[in-house]
Amino acid sequence: MGIAKKMSAPLLGILLFLLFWSAAAQRIDTSLGEFPRPIAVLTQMSALYQEHRTERQKERAFYARQEIRNAQRAERDPNYQVKIRPYTGKETFIDQMGTSLLTVACGFLIGMVIAVPLGVLVGLSSLLNAACNPVIQMLKPVSPLAWLPLVTMVVSALYVTPDPVVPKAFLISMVTVTMCSLWPMLINTSVGVASVDQDLLNVSRVLRMGTLKHIRKIVLPASVPMIFTGMRLSLGVAWMVLIAAEMLSQNPGLGKFVWDEFQNGSSDSLSRIMVAVLVIGLIGFLLDRGMLLLQRWLSWDKAAAVR
């Protein structure tokens, strides 16, 4: 009964949403046909999964053929150096999900490595805070779309290697994500650090703690709840920014998928884009839940991690 009662409201909500969607979809005619209904989207979802499986089978077959061929050549010519050629099939939807997740993770982690220490410094010194705050407040609302051309040019100018470890498009998307996800973490960390209870600062003074110990033992733990709040906000921003960045930089992730389908303009395109929309939403939700779980696990303040 308990579970049934708990689940009934969310299920009802989802059901109503699907009904509303179906009803609305019938009334919208686009140049690519009727707006996709839930059933069409479901069909495309399984189609995309099938494509993924087919592609993987092709890949396996390719490597199997290559192995046999290499073995035969090696038999005929003992001096033959075995070469493995990589499979160059197109990325499937599932691969693109993976790329997106990797890009957002890298961009977010780099943002964190920059923002949290900087936030601690800014929070500790009111002088530094006064100096940085105008710049932070001004850069915070800048859209990723505004950063993207600049990031593209800068990355293209600086990242010139004959043998690139990661594709340029990946770097561009990642840096754009970092640029946009810095600010919530930076602001929340600095506010958290600046608002540590005066009594605790007095304890530290009475104990004559050195600066580093003071930060490690008092300031950082005290501001952990705020830092986590900032990280959750930042991860949400990062995921949202990523899709736009991938669209324009052609990083082979979900953003590129949406863009390619839009350009493709087949009768299935809208359904496939709708699949992407739902998956993007679901992944965003799961990322947020993941951060929440991490916060519950790591932070001492369980009350701060309720929602």
Binding site: Q198, N202, V203, R205, V206, L207, K213
Partner: protein, 287 residues
């Protein structure tokens, strides 16, 4: 007995929004080793400010404080403070809170260095002193207000301070818990004979615990009004003292000072001036 602590001609002026505010003027006090002193006065009279100056958390505008023949210039563990709001680190257990102080005072680089084993025993000894052995592993969020304050006292005692400074340590507790805490403190005093300066606004608490009560005049420019010696024999028992004439007379003297000589006229609602003075202390804390 020689003087352990000398507070000499201390003035304290806070810069305020409406010009400088003189909180203290010419505060003089000498405290002997092993004495228990209460600072009592109406709220906003600057008694906590005196304590914070002794702690080194504030610098006096004029005059100064000498402890053991050396001028107090900054906070230090030889002047341990028990704050009104426990001020425990919420992410550490009771044991770890005391351990943080013990490691800082007796750890590496200390002249009074203790080994790991000695530190552990010392932490447990102090928690035992305040009857917190059973909840050593609990975090502040899991224990009551009285227990938190006990841990705060254990942390201060564990610093083995020359002088223990208590800023309304039981002010936030309910009456029964407060009485219990006062008894615990008296028992500990009976064993350790620490020098204590306690800020309070509770007349009974002051009379029960103190060797001397320092009564402060109302601010602005508050100073020491009268000093009352409490010669009641120790150990003191609150129940039998309740009927004692000696206790009653001393209590009456404090009440007379507070409500007769230093009556505080404070309108209930429209005390914009009064409250701005009252706020002068907390705002200066942040600065």
């Amino acid at each position: 007995m020689s003087e352990l602590l000398v507070i000499s001609q201390v003035d304290m002026v806070f810069p305020g929004e409406n010009g400088p505010f003189t909180a203290l003027e010419g505060v003089d006090l000498k405290i002997k080793r092993g004495e228990f002193i209460s600072l009592i006065g109406h709220s906003g009279c600057g008694k906590s400010t005196v304590l914070n100056i002794v702690a080194g958390l504030y610098r006096a505008t004029r005059g100064g404080v000498i402890l053991n023949g050396r001028e107090v210039r900054e906070p230090g563990p030889e002047r341990a403070v028990v704050f009104q709001n426990h001020s425990l680190l919420l992410w550490l257990s009771a044991y770890e809170n005391v351990a943080l102080a013990v490691e800082q005072v007796f750890g590496r680089g200390s002249t009074r260095r203790k080994s790991r084993r000695e530190m552990k025993d010392w932490i447990e000894y102090n928690l035992n002193l305040v009857h917190m052995s059973h909840a050593m592993r609990k975090r502040p969020g899991e224990i009551s207000g009285g227990m938190k304050q006990r841990v705060g006292i254990a942390r201060a005692l564990a610093m083995e301070p020359d002088i223990l400074l208590m800023d309304e340590p039981f002010g936030a507790l309910d009456a029964l818990t407060r009485a219990h805490m006062q008894d615990t403190l008296m028992t500990i005093q009976g064993e350790l004979h620490n020098t204590v300066v306690m800020v309070t606004h509770d007349v009974d608490e002051a009379v029960l615990l103190s060797d001397r009560i320092v009564m402060m005049t109302n601010g602005p420019a508050a100073t020491v009004g009268e000093v009352l010696d409490i010669d009641i024999q120790r150990p003191r028992d609150r129940v039998s003292l309740a009927d004692s004439a000696e206790y009653g007379a001393l209590r009456a003297q404090v009440l007379k000072f507070l409500y007769d000589k230093q009556r505080k006229v404070e309108p209930i609602a429209t005390n914009s001036r009064g409250s701005s003075h009252g706020n002068a202390v907390p705002t200066a804390r942040v600065a």
